[in-house]
Symmetry: C2
Subunit: 248 residues, 2 copies
Amino acid sequence: MIGIVGGLGPYGGLDITKKIIDETAARSDQEHLPLLLFSCPNLISDRTAYLLDKSNVNPGKAIAAILRQLEMAGATIAAIPSNTAHAEPIFSVVQDERARMGSTLKLLHIVYETVRFVDENYPDTTVGILSTAGEQICSLYREAFIRKGFVVVEPEGSQQEKVNNAIYDEDYGIKAQPVPIANKAREDLLLVMDDLKKKGAQVIILGCAELPLAIPERDYNGMIVIDPNRILARALVHSLAPDKLKPL
Amino acid sequence: MIGIVGGLGPYGGLDITKKIIDETAARSDQEHLPLLLFSCPNLISDRTAYLLDKSNVNPGKAIAAILRQLEMAGATIAAIPSNTAHAEPIFSVVQDERARMGSTLKLLHIVYETVRFVDENYPDTTVGILSTAGEQICSLYREAFIRKGFVVVEPEGSQQEKVNNAIYDEDYGIKAQPVPIANKAREDLLLVMDDLKKKGAQVIILGCAELPLAIPERDYNGMIVIDPNRILARALVHSLAPDKLKPL
């Protein structure tokens, strides 16, 4: 059974659950994979606040406790659909707690699964990373790609500001206005992607859970667009039932 | 905590989970309600096949077993997002099994919650029912509304055939082609709703989980359109945290 740590935020848990179902080849309800979504946002303190030193509660402990509950309910493989939760200061606590509890649940890592997917399907490409989840997530993606020999390009200066505002602006940002997405948020992101294309990007990583809401395309301006939540969903299906994974 | 019996089908469990989050007034992730979605479609045999005597496995036992697991994981209130699972031959087995296991989990009923909602918000109206989940669900809605004093109108003959085909047709039916919905499925359903309007309908019940995919409107041609999954989601939020229920 697949276990999902939901609630960070609630729509992120919903999104990966939908993608697991979408990516499973099934001709009837019964052929779909067993799945447990544990969405307890009330138990998990804010990830970004912790990383920015605005809170001293590390959410890693609560995440590990939920993973334990998923394991006790029968999950054999699990994932955390949040880029920020994989930042080292949080994820290391998750892993320490799991070791302390003697967990044998297999836990996938959103960044490493994404890098592995790109390496298998689009090797030797130049990768552009879009992210606002703080420097820790950007550098996690950047370093993992560079370690595999990829060339990495990122938005700088006013371009990075456009990405931040497309997500956080209180008027037109995706967090403030998710349905429908404001034209300005989407158009600014496309401009940044065009700029990364000029810098040589062949693959774009949407390294923040809000970005696929504004950029649902799987390719844009000749570049492959990668949604890490979808890659994580595919990796879960592949681990549990490789024969049921839909073709790309 | 809210428990959801998912997997009948997988998208139905996803749909009510989304609606619980949508209907909760929350200014941060942490203010959302704790929720457990147990989606084990592999454990639950086909409901319609059982009702139509094509299978002799009553899915009620598996549904009760999942409710037990939700209860043991901490759920205090639960729902089954499927009209068909509430047909008497299945639902009575769910309730018998729960009684045998000494369950104290509160379980909401999709039909009775829908009737109660309409009675509270749109009393003394004429209600039109759209359903294809077999005569048992139609009559469950019909009888519950009549008991409360409502006048009930339903599609007949070629009109009922239009509804069945809009859901089951292998070319244009919603089950075969959910994204995007075929024009013919939606247009036929709108024609049937226009016909119910002529018969006096003021409220339309979308008594089959596929119908809200084709008819997302909350009102149409002067009639109120009711999505029972959304009503069930609202009833769950109201039971757990009445102050967090969004206004209609």
